[in-house]
Symmetry: C2
Subunit: 312 residues, 2 copies
């Protein structure tokens, strides 16, 4: 049994690769919901949707987010009607949010609504939001607080970040199945997601850190930092803001006490000593997921790492 | 100053014709909202939208309802996600309902939300919902109660109708401006809409019937019944259910005590005596609005009727 903690689009690609080599009933995916937003009155879960679409084979390859071959006719009209348009929902994508909002309004939890969307889209993996309770990632900047999507999409992660907090996480419970899937897994993988804003909210829910520590599973993370910079997005800025080096070693520090192994891109082989100083083993391979083959190869490497570690 | 009471798609065509010959600041349109529905969590106002789209030049000519050149990609996905799909919202149309729902959620009234949609779409006429309060047209059939859209769209007006009621109308107030626009008008026109389910809900709001009676305006209705049958929709069945003849005379009876003149299609010239027995004058012209020219001609005829009646 494998459980992946993930968020963001890199995480979705990684999960897709895993799904190609692991039977669906053996793969549980726990997803960050700190980026969720109310947009046009709809409950939008960007990270859940990226994984949902990736697993259904519908994630747009051109954009890396949203639904394949989508159009933006409704969005164009919303803008002309005076609504905000900086967060882009396609016409096909919209259905996911309308349906989720409808299911939530009917009294279902986010976990139940997600299961229903999975069923309807033929996704057989267990896809779990980290929590059914509202948790909001708030990014503080010198100009004030921003929701994560305001910071990331509207402001294109240009503002300098003074702190990040996960509002509501103290009072939140993990969604049903999340802790069990971590504690009873044979392998827990942390996707190459932003350690602060994608994995951080999951780790902030009471019980998750303890679950990772108590689990007999190997815990293996993939570094989203390659060659001293994030592959995409603001992971570098976020690590720096939290006082970590912008390097694989910084990622290892950030996950100190939680992971057994950090998978790092081959170009960072020199970082082994610092990673081991952070009490994780280092395993090196190509982590740049440019093609489907890259994704599958990285997933295979992650599984092979478990076997290697077991015989260590 | 001209005020039109309207509902349905025939009414929208009629209003479009009027708007071609009357300056926008002189034309107020009061619209049935008894057909409004919560669809996919959105506040949909089919009759307001038909008039809004007609006045903005965006009403689909092919379909007679909805937005011109619309697509149904979101609807197709909603169906595949297990949502109901019998009420069809196009991708462009969706924006209207999303925006309206958003404006209502922000605390605006339906009147204010409608004004905002008009502004954004360049519609300069005053477009008023009959009420800001919820009023629901309920159609009783031998198999049970249906909302108007369930009866009309889902069941294609096949069930036999035992009664129609307008739930909430007793407690509803007319929207701001509605009564004034009726009482202070020089002319009140009742569009060729279903007298029972399109105009009936407007007349059921306390004050509207008295307003029509007290107004010094001429009140002129256009019969939606031509040659013993409704031009479109269930107006015939509805008149019969209420005990009226399915004829221009039946329409005159239905509006007895409210109208001065009934405009009737030329093929029904024989109905003059019965219409006059219902205490309305009859005026005959082509009322079939097949082309834009027909619509404009009917509007001109309605205005000319006022002048003729004034010198009577």
């Amino acid at each position: 049994m494998i459980t992946v903690l993930t968020g963001g689009t890199g995480g979705a690609k990684f999960v897709w690769g895993l799904a190609q080599i692991v039977p669906p009933e053996q793969l549980t995916v726990v997803v960050n919901t700190g980026d969720d937003l109310n947009w046009w009155g709809l409950h939008v879960s960007p990270d859940l949707d990226s994984v949902l679409y990736a697993l259904a084979g519908k994630l747009s390859r051109d954009r890396g987010w949203g639904y394949e071959a989508d159009s933006f006719r409704c969005l164009d009209r919303m803008r002309s009607l005076g609504a905000d348009g900086w967060f882009q929902l396609g016409d096909l994508d919209l259905a996911t949010h309308l349906r989720r909002t409808q299911l939530l309004a009917s009294g279902k939890t986010l976990t139940e609504a997600t299961a229903e969307l999975c069923r309807a889209m033929g996704v057989k993996n267990r896809l779990l939001p980290m929590s059914d309770d509202p948790v909001q990632t708030v990014v503080s900047t010198p100009e004030g607080d921003l929701s994560f999507q305001e910071y990331f999409v509207r402001e294109r992660w240009k503002p300098s970040v003074t702190s990040v907090r996960f509002e509501g996480s103290d009072q939140a419970s993990t969604a049903p199945g999340v802790l069990q899937s971590i504690i009873h897994a044979d392998l827990v993988l942390i996707a190459p997601s932003n350690p602060v804003t994608s994995i951080g909210p999951i780790l902030a829910i009471p019980g998750v850190r303890d679950g990772l520590r108590c689990s007999t599973a190997q815990v293996i993370a993939v570094s989203p930092i390659v060659g001293g910079a994030a592959v995409t997005g603001p992971a570098g800025d976020m690590l720096k803001m939290r006082g970590f080096a912008v390097s694989a070693a910084g990622v290892a520090e950030c996950y100190r006490d939680l992971i057994d192994v950090l998978i790092v891109d081959s170009q960072d082989e020199g970082s082994r000593p610092q990673i081991e100083a952070a009490e994780a083993h280092a395993a090196f391979t190509n982590t740049m997921m440019k093609s489907d083959d890259d994704r599958i190869a990285l997933a295979k490497f992650a599984l092979a790492t478990v076997a290697r570690e077991a015989t260590r």
